[in-house]
Amino acid sequence: MSLQKNKKGADKLISIYWFMILTIIAGGVVMMVNGYYSSPYDVREVEGDIFASKLANCIYPAGTANPNFVSVQGIIKPEFIENFESHCKLNIEPEGEFEKAQYYAKITFYRTEKKKSEEQVIEIGNKNFLVDCKSKDTSKNLATCVENEFWMMFPGDRLKFVTVLTAIGKTDQNA
């Protein structure tokens, strides 16, 4: 009689133990899924590529230089550079009042593809990211930089080699 009671007690204890283990494992699985899916996808490289193609399409759409960007004489219009963002329909200003800009772009015009002498440079956005682009460190705490290049024909059949460097910050969201 006493032995049977003991067995019942031990069974109850083991059931509680298994219930606890089950809860711990279930909690662990929840933590694993949360740990994996809560961290964001780093899309800065793709974003930089899209940003660069938007800039290239703005100055050189469909194989002809934008007439608002370059004059008939083949000179880049200063007025266009001054209001580059509005002309290219870009919105790279930070959302909050005390937040810094998360985008940077540098369009450089060269005479040849050897990139020896810069003829003209257009820069927009947060210039601090340029240091990150020169760094060899690939840490997530640095801005992600993408560089693209193409040949462009200016009016008067003058050729220019153009490089478009874009940098996306957003380190707080991705680090």
Binding site: Y17, I21, I24, I25, G28, M31, M32, V33, G35, Y36, Y37, S38, S39, P40, Y41, D42, V43, R44, E45, V46, D49, A52, S53, A56, N57, Y60, A62, G63, T64, E113, N148, E149, F150, W151, M152, M153, D157, L159, V164
Partner: protein, 117 residues
């Protein structure tokens, strides 16, 4: 009777140790997997895919910058300049600078260009 009780006690201690070690092992394995999952999660990056996924053979997208260069190549008149751009295209293609093969894209754009004309 006394001996029997002692033996029972020893058995209980042995059982408890077994269960305790098993619990610790389960928790340790769980911790390892939780850590692994969070580590894998932090390396998620769109744009850096496996080589087999981004290779030119499987890529179905376009290269805006390559097309711009090709448009320039087709629009330009001088033979020397044309040769220069062609040289650039070949060199850049060899360095895998473009997302799609330059030669095939050039042929495609050229045929579209001729059709329009």
């Amino acid at each position: 009777m006394h001996k029997e009780k002692n033996q029972n006690k020893k058995g209980q201690v042995g059982d408890t140790i077994t269960w305790f070690i098993a619990t610790v092992a389960i928790i340790a394995i769980l911790m390892f997997f939780i850590f692994g999952a969070s580590m894998l999660g932090s390396t998620k990056s769109v744009g850096k895919y496996k080589e087999s996924l981004t290779s030119r053979a499987t890529y179905e997208g376009d290269d805006v910058f390559l097309k711009k260069t090709i448009f320039t190549y087709l629009a330009v008149d001088g033979a020397k300049t044309k040769a220069n751009i062609n040289k650039y295209l070949e060199a850049a293609d060899e360095e895998d600078k473009f997302k799609v093969p330059a030669k095939e894209t050039l042929t495609e754009v050229r045929s579209n260009h001729a059709r329009k004309e």
